[in-house]
Amino acid sequence: MFPWNYGFHWSTGNVLFLGAFYTVLVVVATTVASAILRARRAVAAQQTDAIRWRSDFHDLPPRDRVCRHVLTGEFQVRECPNAFDCRQCETHARLVALHPPEAPPESGEELLGMSFPLDRFYHRGHTWARLGPDGAVTIGLDELGRRVLGVPDAVDLPAPGTRLRVNGPAWHIHKRNRDVRVLSPADGEVVEATGGIGGDGYLRVKPVGRGFDFRNLLAPCEVKPWLLREVERLQGALSAEGVPTLADGGVLLPDLSTAYPQADWDAACDAMFLQA
C-alpha cells in the first residue's frame, strides 16, 4: 500500500500516519518471526527438555521453588534463580566454601519409617544418584517417591544409549491413568535400564564429557531438613482433599495412593515430582 496507497501524498500527515502503522506491523511480524526462528534453533539444538523444565519450574508455586539454603536455615527467604541447577550458582559455591558439608552419619536418615541411605545424593524431584566403583551412576526413585506412587502400573524406561540431562525427564511412571515424569538427577548416557516395577535402582548411567557433577544434588547434611519439608508439602497436598495424614509418631504407608484412592493424586504427584 504505502506509498502505492490510493490517494497517497508525500505529506507529513500521510507519512506519519502510515509510517507509524507500518512500523507497528513490522515490529509485530519481526517479533513473531524471531520467536519462530529461536524456537527452531532450540529444537534443533535439542534444548526441548531443558526448556520444558525451565517452563515447569517457572510455573511451580513460589514455596516449591525455594533455594536449598532455605531448607538448612542459611536464608530466611530465597527463591532459586537457577531452576535447581546449583552447578551454575555462585551463591551456592560461596556458601559451600563458607560452611563445608559435615561428614554424613554412617547409618543414614530414618524418617517416618522411611530409610534414606546417605551413600548417595538426592535430587529434589525424589530421585537419587549413587556413584559406583566402576564410575557409572545408578539412578533410582527415593523412598518417599516410591511410597507416594506405590506399585506402578507401568514404567517407561529410556533405551540404552539415551542421553540424560540434569532436570530433564529420566523415565515415566504410569499409575491409574496418571503419567508421572521423573526428573534426572545427573547428566550421562544410559547404559542399562534394570529397574521396573518393584525394582531398586532404575538406570545405570555412564558419564559423558567431563564426568559427573553432583553439585546440583542435596548433600547428606541437607537430606533431613529437605525431607521434613517434603513431608509437610505432601501433607498439604493431601489435606486439601480431606485425607487423614500423619499422626505423631506415625509412619507413611507403603502405597499411599492405594490406601487413599479418593485423594487428588494428580496434585500430590505434581507437588512431589515438581510437575507444573
Binding site: M1, N5, Y6, G7, G13, N14, F17, L18, F21, V24, L25, V27, V28, T31, V32, S34, A35, I36, R38, A39, A42, V43, Q47, T48, I51, R52, R54, S55, D59, P61, P62, R63, L228, E232, R233, Q235, G236, A237, L238, S239, A240, D248, D264, D266, A267, D270, A271, Q275, A276
Partner: protein, 427 residues
C-alpha cells in the same frame, strides 16, 4: 472425560456440568449469529438506525467493551514495562478478556459496516485525516497483537505443551512478550484516544464538540484516561465474579486491592479532568457555538441528572472508595466501586454516542429517539455470548490464574507448619 486437558493442580466442574453451563450461551450465540446474518444478507434495514441516527447499540457496545477491554493493555503495560510483578496473577485473564472484548467489537463492526466484503477498503483507501481510520487501523492491529498474546496462554495447555514445537515456541514467544506489551500500549493509547476524538471533532454536534490540544480534542485524552482507569476495575470485577461462579479462590486479596488502587488513582485524575473539561465546555465551548449548555439537558430523559450520575455517582464516588485504604480492604466495597466505575464508562460512552445523536442541532432538526431492533439486540447478545463462551473454555482448559494452584494446598500447609513448629502447643 476431558480431565487430561485441564491444567495441573486445579479443579474444574464435571464435563456434564460444564456442558449445562455452555448450552444456553451457545443457543444465545446461535440466535445472535442468525440476527447478524439477517443484517448482512438483507442489509441494515434490519436495524432501527438510519442516516441521521447512524450510531446505535452496536457502536455504544463497541465503545464500552473497548474501554473495558483496556485492562489487557494496561495490565500488560504495568506488568511488563513498569514491572509490577503482583499483576502476574491476573495477566492471563486480562489478555483473554481483552481478546474477547476486541474480537467482539470487531465482529460487531463488521456487521455494522453493512458491506463487510468492502471492509478492506479502509486499509487500501485510508483517509489519513480521519479519526475513524486511525481507530480501524489500531483496533485491527491490536486485535492481532492480542491474538499473538493469547497464543502462549493456549499453548500452555497441558496437552498442547506435550508437543515439543509448541512448548518451545511458547517459551520463546513469552520471552518477547514485553515487545508486544509495548506495541499494545502504543496502539491502545491511540485508538482509545481516537475513539474519543471521533466525537470531539464533531462541530455539527456542539453537545460533543470540544476544544483541545493541536489536532486532538479534549475527549481524545479523556477517553484514554477513562479506559485506563476502568480497565483494572473490570479485571477486578471479572476476577471476583469468576471466583464466585466457580467457588474457587483465584488470586490473593492484595492483587485485587492493587488493581483497585490503580483504578482509583486514575479514576480520580479522570474525574478531575472531566470536571474541568465540562466546566470549560459549559462556560466557553458550547456558548461559543451558540448553544447555552442548559438547553441540551432540557430534552428528557437526558436531564442534568445524567451529568451528575456520570461525574459524581459513577466517577467521584468509586474513585473515593478505591482510594480509601480501609474500604479497599473490604471486598464488598472494592467490588461495588469497581462495578460503579465500569458502569460510569458505559454511561459516558452512551452519552457520547446516543445522547449526542438524539439532540437536535439545527433549527429544523427534531429530537430523535432510537430503540434497537431485535436483530440489533440479537447481534449484541451474540457478542456477549461469544465472550462468555471463549472465557469459559479458556478458564476450564487454560491456566488463567496461576495462584489458584497455590490456594488448594495453602490452608493445610499453614496448619501443618504451625504443628511442626509448635508440637507442644498441639498436644
Amino acid at each position: 472425560m476431558d480431565r487430561q486437558l485441564i491444567a495441573r493442580g486445579v479443579r474444574r466442574c464435571s464435563t456434564p456440568q460444564f456442558l449445562l453451563w455452555i448450552l444456553p450461551w451457545a443457543a444465545l450465540f446461535a440466535f445472535g449469529l442468525y440476527c447478524a446474518g439477517l443484517c448482512l444478507v438483507k442489509g441494515l434495514n434490519q436495524t432501527n438506525m438510519d442516516n441521521r441516527f447512524a450510531f446505535g447499540l452496536w457502536i455504544f457496545v463497541d465503545l464500552t467493551i473497548i474501554a473495558l477491554g483496556a485492562g489487557a493493555f494496561f495490565t500488560g503495560f504495568l506488568l511488563y514495562i513498569l514491572k509490577l510483578k503482583d499483576l502476574d496473577a491476573v495477566i492471563n485473564s486480562a489478555v483473554v478478556i481483552g481478546f474477547v472484548c476486541y474480537s467482539g467489537a470487531v465482529a460487531a463492526l463488521l456487521v455494522d459496516v453493512g458491506q463487510p466484503l468492502r471492509a478492506w477498503f479502509t486499509f487500501w483507501y485510508p483517509n489519513v485525516h480521519s479519526m475513524l481510520t486511525e481507530v480501524t487501523f489500531c483496533i485491527t492491529c491490536y486485535l492481532a497483537v492480542l491474538l499473538i498474546e493469547y497464543l502462549p496462554i493456549v499453548l500452555r495447555n497441558r496437552k498442547l505443551r506435550e508437543v515439543p514445537g509448541f512448548l518451545v515456541f511458547e517459551f520463546e514467544l513469552h520471552k518477547l512478550i514485553y515487545v508486544l506489551a509495548g506495541v499494545g500500549t502504543f496502539l491502545s493509547f491511540f485508538h482509545q484516544g481516537s475513539l474519543g476524538g471521533l466525537f470531539g471533532v464533531l462541530r455539527g454536534h456542539p453537545f460533543a464538540f470540544r476544544e483541545g490540544l493541536a489536532v486532538w480534542p479534549s475527549t481524545f485524552f479523556l477517553f484514554i484516561l477513562s479506559a485506563a482507569a476502568v480497565g483494572p476495575s473490570f479485571i477486578l470485577f471479572t476476577t471476583w465474579l469468576i471466583s464466585k461462579l466457580s467457588g474457587k479462590r483465584l488470586v490473593r486479596p492484595q492483587v485485587l486491592q492493587l488493581l483497585g488502587r490503580i483504578s482509583g488513582l486514575l479514576l480520580g485524575v479522570y474525574v478531575l479532568a472531566k470536571t474541568v473539561d465540562t466546566l470549560i465546555w459549559i462556560n466557553r465551548t458550547s456558548p461559543g457555538a451558540g448553544f447555552p449548555a442548559q438547553e441540551y439537558f432540557a430534552w428528557q430523559p437526558f436531564g442534568t441528572w445524567i451529568l451528575f450520575a456520570e461525574i459524581v455517582v459513577f466517577g467521584l464516588a468509586p474513585a473515593l472508595i478505591l482510594l480509601t485504604p480501609r474500604l479497599r480492604l473490604r471486598t464488598n466495597w472494592l467490588v461495588s466501586a469497581a462495578v460503579l466505575a465500569c458502569l460510569g464508562v458505559a454511561l459516558n460512552r452512551f452519552v457520547m454516542t446516543l445522547q449526542t445523536l438524539a439532540l437536535p442541532t439545527l433549527s429544523f432538526d427534531r429530537y430523535l429517539s432510537y430503540w434497537p431492533s431485535w436483530q440489533e439486540t440479537g447481534t449484541f447478545l451474540a457478542v456477549v455470548a461469544f465472550g462468555v463462551l471463549v472465557y469459559s473454555f479458556s478458564f476450564r482448559y487454560l491456566l488463567l490464574f496461576p495462584q489458584e494452584r497455590e490456594f488448594r494446598q495453602e490452608p493445610a500447609a499453614q496448619v501443618s507448619e504451625t504443628a511442626v513448629m509448635d508440637p507442644v502447643g498441639r498436644s
